[in-house]
């Protein structure tokens, strides 16, 4: 047995997983040679890896479900250019003859009708953005007392918890929010401001249950809007900023609300 431990258990795991630099890797290797008890431990970790590989690697070659094939087919049909050929080539190993004949076949796209109950979300979000961000006196109904604060009253009116996302790492701080009508329901608008005084709004509206999520970008004049749907809730992030910056913010907002 070694008289003095030089490496932590974490080091040993890192050794097994190839996470160490070459020099340390060699040192650990030598140390293990002198400590057979730990060698057993390490061998077992490697064995676990082999068992996992043996159990799950065959999944890589299994045929994919008809359902997934149908999804890809549906998705391809939404695109403006034909991709199906490349998809078929990729899946040739996995998919049986059912795909034969799909190449030139295009289903009627359901894309445009998928969110028919939401024609107004982006329009409403942009209107609300334009109207209220220009209001110098009272841009928000409820002022956030501190950044990231949960505006409980709005949540209550909206009918579900709406913790506001923290966008400070992208340079935006929360000013506050308001409740607005969207058809016969309540919608919520949260407003943020950056150091340059630009304003950004997150608009959240409730729709009917069971709508699938999808992503869209809409621009009206200089105002850009990313909007998407999560179950019965629609989200829109609107600002007069660069599209790529807006995309980054939308991503944060999306992550924040995804599992509300």
């Amino acid at each position: 047995m070694s008289d003095e431990r030089k490496f932590s258990e974490h080091d040993l795991h890192a050794y097994v997983d190839g996470e160490l630099d070459a020099e340390t890797h060699l040192e650990v290797e030598k140390w293990i040679a002198a400590n057979p008890d730990y060698r057993d431990e390490i061998e077992h970790w490697k064995k676990q890896r082999e068992l996992l590989k043996a159990e799950f690697d065959p999944v890589l070659g299994e045929p994919i479900s008809d359902q997934l094939v149908a999804l890809l087919k549906r998705y391809m049909n939404k695109r403006t250019y034909p991709l199906w050929g490349t998809i078929a080539a990729s899946l040739l190993l996995f998919v049986s003859g059912v795909i034969v004949g799909w190449g030139g076949y295009h289903l009627r796209s359901t894309y445009s009708t998928q969110h028919a109950i939401w024609p107004d979300l982006a329009v409403q979000a942009i209107s609300a953005h334009v109207v209220f961000t220009q209001d110098k006196g009272r841009p928000v109904e409820i002022r956030a007392e501190s950044q990231g604060q949960n505006l409980r009253w709005i949540s209550k009116r909206f009918g579900r918890k709406l913790p506001t996302p923290d966008l400070s790492k992208l340079g935006w701080s929360l000013i506050g929010g308001r409740v607005l009508p969207l058809e016969d329901r309540a919608a919520a608008q949260f407003m943020y401001q950056n150091e340059a005084g630009k304003r950004l709004t997150i608009y959240i509206g409730l729709g009917e249950q069971g709508q699938s999520a999808d992503y869209h970008f809409w621009r009206k004049g200089d105002v850009g809007c990313y909007y998407w749907f999560e179950g019965s809730v629609g989200f829109a992030v609107t600002a007069e900023i660069d599209k790529s910056e807006l995309k980054k913010i939308s991503e944060l907002v999306y992550d924040h609300f995804e599992y509300l």
Partner: protein, 169 residues
């Protein structure tokens, strides 16, 4: 390269990861289905500087966690990080001498947070840094979950426990 095409190429890996997470073919299929659907509808949110497979793993894993949450009919949730170490990496005796040889069954004996780390590192062979990114936890958490997961899996797999070898201080 076209992103849609690239996602299709990742499907086999998504399916392997999903099977490891769920242990069930149908659940895994549903999970991959939801993941691909979500990814395809959010292509413009994909940051091209990020590894595509890891982005997809993140989506898949988040849907899985959400499913577990939705379908959980267990008692109050206790964060595994707050459970005393002794309970998590406990002896095989804790499982009433039911020692299993089947890796799939053994995986079922792991808490979900250890299971996902173990699968990412040992099966999918992502780096610790990538695992931390996918699971959105610090790298130290990855390492401690990996360590607990491997020790526990050993207990579950071994016919004869060897006291003294398992614990490395």
């Amino acid at each position: 390269m076209d992103l849609t095409r690239a996602i299709v190429d990742e499907i086999p890996y998504l399916r392997r990861f999903a099977r490891g997470l769920t242990g069930d073919r149908h659940q895994a299929d549903d999970l991959v289905q939801d993941c691909v659907e979500r990814a395809l509808s959010r292509l413009h949110l994909y940051d091209r500087s990020r590894n595509l497979r890891n982005w997809l793993f993140t989506i898949l894993r988040n849907i899985h966690v959400n499913n577990l949450r939705k379908h959980s009919s267990r008692g109050p949730h206790v964060d595994v990080e707050n459970v005393p170490e002794s309970l998590l990496s406990g002896d095989a005796e804790q499982f009433g001498h039911v020692v299993v040889n089947d890796i799939s069954k053994a995986l079922d004996g792991l808490p979900p947070q250890q299971r996902e780390v173990l699968l990412l590192i040992s099966l999918e062979q992502v780096s610790y840094v990538e695992a931390a990114q996918i699971l959105d936890v610090p790298i130290g958490t990855i390492m401690s979950r990996l360590s607990r997961g491997r020790n526990r899996l050993r207990d579950l797999l071994e016919v004869q426990s060897k006291p003294g070898l398992r614990q490395i201080k």
